[in-house]
């Protein structure tokens, strides 16, 4: 019984003021960096695209950890498993579609 009650009673995870502020500052830095490289044309177009992707993935990770409180803790395991399976489905849909459609437009010479 005791053991049961020590598990987070309302779920959803518990942040602290510090964890929210750390997550917020990291997000601000990553967002400003993304806008900066685009507005100042400081990189080549290909490098800018790659950098935007990397910055976005890092910021998603930061917000999932600091705001959504997903972790590998035992009481959070199913949150993590459902998140990873949804991410897997999204990646298959996205890259699968882009692969098929780029091949289609290449072979039909529509581009």
């Amino acid at each position: 019984m005791d053991n049961h009650n020590t598990v987070a009673p309302t779920g959803g995870g518990h942040g602290t003021v510090t964890s929210y502020i750390v997550g917020f500052i990291l997000s601000v830095v990553l967002t400003v960096a993304a806008f900066y490289i685009v507005m100042n044309h400081s990189l080549s177009p290909e490098a800018t695209g790659g950098a935007l992707g990397i910055l976005a993935v890092i910021q998603i990770f930061v917000q999932v950890v600091f705001f959504l409180h997903v972790s590998a803790a035992p009481e959070k395991r199913w949150d993590l498993i459902t998140l990873l399976s949804a991410a897997f489905v999204v990646i298959v849909i996205c890259f699968g579609t882009l692969f098929v459609m780029s091949n289609a437009s290449y072979h039909m010479m529509s581009r």
């Binding site: 019984m1 309302t10 997550g23 967002t31 993304a34 949150d79």
Partner: protein
């Protein structure tokens, strides 16, 4: 022994009032399916991102200043909702109300800038029926905007319920579900400003 265990778990669940843990997890599973909805919308946008059909191009009509303001409003509202949840766990009803009002106002500010941007785009000829790019753009971005609208309405409903019923454990479960929803919308917005607005300007 096993039946005893079963009744014990049942009792614990009833102690928590309304299966709060399970409600939050159920809502989380819904959010993951919503994630797949947005994944499909982003994919169709990615496929159609060069199809302007002779209409206005993204580069010629997007204004990044407005997008930066929208991003800031949504990110700050995520932080203020986090503060509301911290106060909710301390059972500090007045402070929860205050942070929720600030969060709802920031969300409304986001919507104001988004609607203003849509009006500007339509006025310069970038309407949803002009080309595949603008159809995909308006479908994706306004789906996110509709989610934000529903989030604000939900927030107002919870504030009304909280003022009459107080911060019960059931209320904290509902606030927790909305917190996941609100933070999730900020995560989706990261992809919107990175892959829709900024990448189109490269």
């Amino acid at each position: 022994m096993t039946t005893q265990d079963a009744t014990m778990t049942n009792d614990t669940a009833h102690d928590h009032g309304d299966h709060g843990d399970l409600s939050v997890f159920g809502f989380w599973v819904y959010l993951m399916t919503d994630c797949i909805v947005f994944g499909c919308l982003f994919t169709s946008f990615a496929v159609l991102r060069h199809q302007f059909a002779g209409g206005p191009t993204a580069q010629s009509v997007f204004e990044l200043n407005g997008v930066a303001i929208e991003t800031a409003l949504l990110l700050i509202s995520s932080l203020t909702y986090g503060f509301a949840m911290l106060q909710a766990r301390k059972k500090n009803k007045g402070a929860v109300m205050g942070w929720l009002v600030i969060t709802a106002l920031l969300g409304a500010g986001f919507l104001y800038y988004e609607i203003e941007e849509f009006c500007h785009l339509v006025s310069v000829g970038a309407a949803p029926n002009v080309s595949a790019f603008w159809s995909a753009f308006f479908t994706l971005v306004s789906t996110h905007g509709l989610h934000v609208t529903l989030g604000i309405i939900w927030m107002i409903v919870l504030m009304i319920q909280m003022s009459s019923k107080g911060l019960t454990s059931r209320m904290i479960t509902r606030l927790t579900c909305l917190s996941l929803f609100w933070h999730f919308l900020d995560v989706v917005w990261i992809c919107v400003f990175s892959f829709v607005y900024l990448l189109s300007m490269v």
